[in-house]
Homo-oligomer: 131 residues x 2
């Protein structure tokens, strides 16, 4: 099972699915062109409703991570295409805004720029390690 759902978590189920798919792509567990389970099959496996999975797939499609084509189902987008696409630019803007806000909050708690930079690079290196 590639995905696991926590019904007790505060994060909505459809966002849990979305995040875990993105994480799997980042870690190389899902490759460009790979086919995801059908919304009905995954919903059955996870014990959730069809529409919950469909909402996650539609979000991933809107964000550019997936491509849907009729009965072909959901397939992983080529990251090269994604990185060059327009949708990625808005993603970069959101990334910058998120990083800016995290830095502001760290500063408000009395943290320094050097400490923040250290934590950021530490977490980034860990996220970019090969799976």
């Amino acid at each position: 099972m590639l995905l696991s759902i926590d019904h007790a978590a505060p994060e909505p189920i459809y966002l849990q699915i979305r995040t875990q798919v993105v994480t799997a792509i980042a870690r190389g567990e899902l490759h460009p062109g790979d086919r995801l389970p059908s919304v009905r099959a995954l919903a059955s496996d996870l014990g959730v409703n069809l529409h919950t999975v469909n909402k996650a797939y539609a979000l991933l499609r809107d964000e550019g991570y997936l491509v849907m084509r009729g009965r072909s189902g959901a397939r992983i987008t080529d990251p090269a295409d994604l990185h060059a696409s327009v949708g990625c630019e808005v993603g970069d803007e959101r990334l910058a805004a998120s990083l800016h806000q995290l830095a502001l909050e760290y500063r408000a708690r009395g943290g320094t720029l050097e400490e923040f930079g250290h934590i950021a690079l530490q977490q980034a290196r860990q996220a970019f390690e090969d799976a």
Copy 2:
């Protein structure tokens, strides 16, 4: 007016208030010991309900940014105290988790570690600039 509310934004009003107070602390627009408007006064100024402001203040208190004492009202915590407090450790854990997830999503979109580090440091420097 220190705060401004966007009723059309998807972010809840009480979180908008919370974030703007934290940002003001980070930028030095609010100093340790400064007194915030009363929940009733701020609610009236912003055109929102008393409980919406109270929810934001209670959250800021739980996060350690504010201290409440009877009629003394809400006052800004000393960042030095905050940075040394236990509540700051869980804040650091959340920061690390957020940074890790942002890096994972950037990698999933075809970004590199170097690019991410550059954007992170760029935003951090901007956030730590003096107001």
